[in-house]
Amino acid sequence: MKEKWNFILYLVWFSYLILSAVLMFGQGFLLSRKTLSDVSECVPLKSFGCDGHQNSSVKVPCSDDNKIRRILSNSGSPIICAPKKNKVALILVDALRYDFTEYDESNASPLYYQNRLPVIRKTVDKWPNRARVFRFMADPPTTTLQRVKALVTGSLPTFIDMSANFAAMEIQEDNVIDQIVKQGNKAVLLGDDTWARLMPARWHRSHALYSFHTWDLDTVDNEVDSKIYDELKKSDWDILVAHYLGVDHAGHRYGPNHPEMARKLKETNARLERFIEMLPPDVILYVIGDHGMTETDSQEWKKSDGDHGGESKAERTAALFAYCSTGFAGDEADRQIGREVQQTDLASTLSAALGRPPPAPSLGNLLLPVLPNMPVAHTLLHLSNNLKQVTQYLVRYGEESQQISLDRLAQLINATRTQIGLAAGVETEADLRIYISDVRNLMDKVRGAFREVWVEFDSLSMLRALLLLLLAVFFNWIITEGIPVERIPHVFASSFVPSGLVSVAVCIGLCYTAYYLEILENVEHAIILSTGLVSGAITCVLVVMHWDGITQRWSEGRAQFYDRFARTALFASAVILVSNSYIIEEGATLSYLTLSVLGVIVWNVRTVKSFLLWAAFGGVMVLTRSYRGCREEQGDCWTAGEGSTTGNASRAALVLALGSVAAVIAIARRHVEWRGYGIVIAGIFACAHWAVGWGSLGSPSRSRMLARGAWLVIATMFVLLWRKDGRGATMPLVVSGLLFYLANTLVLGAAFAPTAGLALLSGFIALNVVPILKTEGSTKFSLATRCNSSMACLWALLASYHFYGTGHHATLGHVRWAAVFHAGDPNYTSFGTPISVVLMFIYLFGMPLMFGATVPLLALWGSKGASALGPRTQLAAVFSICLKFALCFAIRVFACALSATIHCRHLMIWGVFTPKLLFEVGSCFAALLGALIGAILTMWHIPSQVRSS
């Protein structure tokens, strides 16, 4: 029985391989940025004395210019509020690509998107001083949400802007709108509700429209039009934001080269003409596109036309058109049409125009050519404000995060400080011009440094991680599918697992040595890579050594049809993860596939009993359907209000919850002997917890105490599971399943507790289908049937489905945090964080955990199961089914990672694919952990002496 613990060690080893590869992938893929809560402050010019110090005793009056000069020469001075204030109308035309704004008279047959905005060229020609048109370069990801974030904060958005409140959509950082509102000025919003969701409760007046339906070209635009002309006449606002969506939607639906696009652009042209005509003199008009769109290929129809999200030049090149009736600063060179400017620059420019300091996280440079003409001293003041703010940000970011190396940061900070000091020496226009270009170069350097860590994926480690995943999955697949079951005990009794683990340990040791000797820089990646490769090589050697057995098994005959079908279904469930619509509807898809797999198995048996079991299973799946959540992309269901589930249970839900738990414990307790008492007590505690805490008459404190009691009983029972009674592993496994069920009901709360019961029931029905599978005579073959991959695939599909079946969805905004607090706030205890992490983990991934822990039952369940056989055979069967189950989840994770790599610049990458990857990794981890618990339980309880059977 040497192989007993080798099985466990091998499962641990496999889990390590999968999880380490996923970790490596995540480090390369999940771009993260630390969100700082700092807010830029400025000191009004009035509070400075003429000597350039705050609250100085010198009371001699002097001109602003002199005062600014003095302040500039004092390099330690804070940011100063700029004196001149304008108003700004910011018109965002979604997806306004730069070449839409070009006008070429000689073009006799323009395409549908060419020459449609003549007003821009006409204005620039007519008043070269008053109008500017530039290329407005966006950074990837070029999706509207990320772009709006970037425009208002002046920063480079990433997927995870790490901050205190991770789930909410609201911007947590300082931004232009906050700066304006803080000053007591008014902001008005018209159009797309992305703005309202990012910055709620900041608007003086807002008319935001839900705009998810990308096939509607006109509603939002017409609504904005109906309001904007009145708003332009009013004078109570300081910034007016209007967001037009029509062009973007036309691009998504038809592509740029389509008559609809011409119509939308013509409408935009008419609007701009009217704006320019009626613009009050103190208002600066900025018309910007947040991103471009992909080129159309007019020869053939392609799905990707007119989309955006990626980093191609066409998607990144938007347009910026500025108009001010009093005239802009800048000379011929600045005025040049089509110069490239960065989108990050808009935030600091807007702030300067409105007389506010740049927002704290801004990395932008001032766009002087689109600011009104002003004296040299004022220009210098703005420039030095900007530099001071960037310096502060560099210092603060260095304190909070180690993403950028300290040397690099220190170098940049020194450079900006020096530049601030130089401002005092600028006297003439010529000096100023040189100074401006110096500042621009410096700011480009700063942006570049941050861009490297925030915007660029680490594709090398992503590809390495994919390779490692593929290696692990491929060789383990061959081992589970190829090596005959009867050989497995011999393989694992040999020195295969110990030698593998020793070589992994040697790898880790070598990497640490190399790190100690400073040959290696990134010790973590080196360890993951080397151990993964070594493990791949060792499993490869194993496969080569047993090649005769593998070929023999494969040549003996193909698997049953239902077996092949189940594998295909699992493969299909992984493949569809590359399509966003299937991810959105994954709950329905998984239930469809599970039912199909079970249906084919039942068709193989074809008895009335099996058909009835299938129907019952389907009925359970239908019942879980009503608990499935909604996500925003599922239009109808979301707008019907089903998406926002409240934590409070209705009376009917409470009765259902109590009834389901009572039924489960009433039925289960008779069959699990003395362990039944523990189950009953825990169940009663859980029921009392809901009943006492329900409604306005409930007592929350007592309810929490009861929940704690339930957890205590569950934990005690879990410890008691390890008491050996020498009667096989089936009973402890069943009890562990029941305990996980109770834990799930507790964290799910009364409203969703019945889903856990339904999941348990569906698993039970599936278990009962297993023994009626046709077995061809002898026990040897029956064992091969019991642990074939169709069962593992079915079980994995079921476990994945019940993630959705218990009301979850793979979106970050959908996560309810109430589960952490049902037994009181754990943050008051000494182990607050681990407890809340564990509760959250069970809440989200309790189903894969429960199904993982009960996987060995597939081999052991029933009178004809493996439990009647000798312990060695039992162990081999359990190990093989556990590994297959784990492999199913590994395959799904691999597919998720692959699809995230393929789509890494897709429009929906942050909304759909990345959350799916995160949740799938969580499920995989839970399944691996559960399978491990199940396997250890089995190994522990199976008697070790060899019976003569």
Binding site: S581, L595, R606, G618
Partner: protein, 235 residues
């Protein structure tokens, strides 16, 4: 599965399959030209089912015409047989209806569409079997008590049934996609998928018989016969 020994049966199989290959595409073409293709889920398109019913009935009369001189039944017996078949068919329609809902069709609405789909599936799968062999044999076949793989006609009918169900199953694949096309409405993809599967099965039968006869002369064609044999559902 098919053998060239029984020429009479083989001819019947070929001719019925050919007839199907002609009438089913014509029905689909006509309704799509009339612009009614996307309304097959409405109760108003019941006539399509009636057309298919009549066609299948004719086919089964043709298939059975030889058996009549073997088994002469009394007309009374015949009537009760018909009644039994109708009841059985209704039961099958109900089973299909339940199964489709379990697979994920809407529970509370679109009942007419689901019902039409289940009737279509019954018409294309179980109905020809019953018309050919009678209720008892069909049930035996369904529960795998007897195996009829020797009988060319029954083999063809079972093949058709399996391909039809597979077609309907595959049709559901396009429903979740976000293309917002009119043919993604429930139950159009499954409906058309079922028809497509049935048609494909018939086309395969015809081509296989043709190839088998031709391969007597040109043995090289046996390769294609084997390919088609693999495509046919093996149970």
């Amino acid at each position: 599965m098919f053998s060239l020994n029984n020429h009479l049966e083989l001819r019947r199989v070929t001719i019925t399959s050919l007839v199907t290959c002609i009438y089913l595409p014509s029905i689909v073409t006509v309704i799509s030209y009339k612009g009614l293709l996307y309304s097959v889920g409405n109760a108003s398109s019941f006539y399509v089912l009636v057309l298919i019913f009549v066609a299948e009935l004719m086919k089964s009369f043709y298939l059975n015409s030889s058996n009549e001189f073997q088994v002469k039944k009394k007309s009374k017996n015949r009537a009760s047989e018909v009644m039994k078949s109708i009841v059985f068919l209704l039961g099958v329609v109900f089973c299909f209806f339940i199964a489709i809902i379990l697979f994920g069709a809407p529970v509370l609405d679109h009942h007419d569409g689901t019902l039409l789909l289940s009737s279509l599936l019954t018409l294309l799968t179980i109905f020809p079997l019953i018309a050919h062999t009678g209720v008892e044999s069909a049930m035996q076949l369904l529960f795998g008590v007897k195996i009829f793989s020797r009988d060319t006609i029954i083999a063809m009918l079972v093949n058709n049934a399996l391909m039809t169900v597979c077609g309907a199953w595959l049709g559901a694949v396009v429903i979740p996609l976000d293309w917002n096309t009119p043919w993604q409405q429930w139950p159009i993809p499954c409906y058309l998928g079922a028809i497509g599967g049935y048609l494909l099965s018939n086309v395969l039968t015809v081509s296989k018989v043709t190839l088998m006869s031709a391969s007597n002369k040109y043995p090289a064609l046996n390769f294609f016969v084997n390919v088609i044999n693999r495509l046919h559902m093996s149970k």
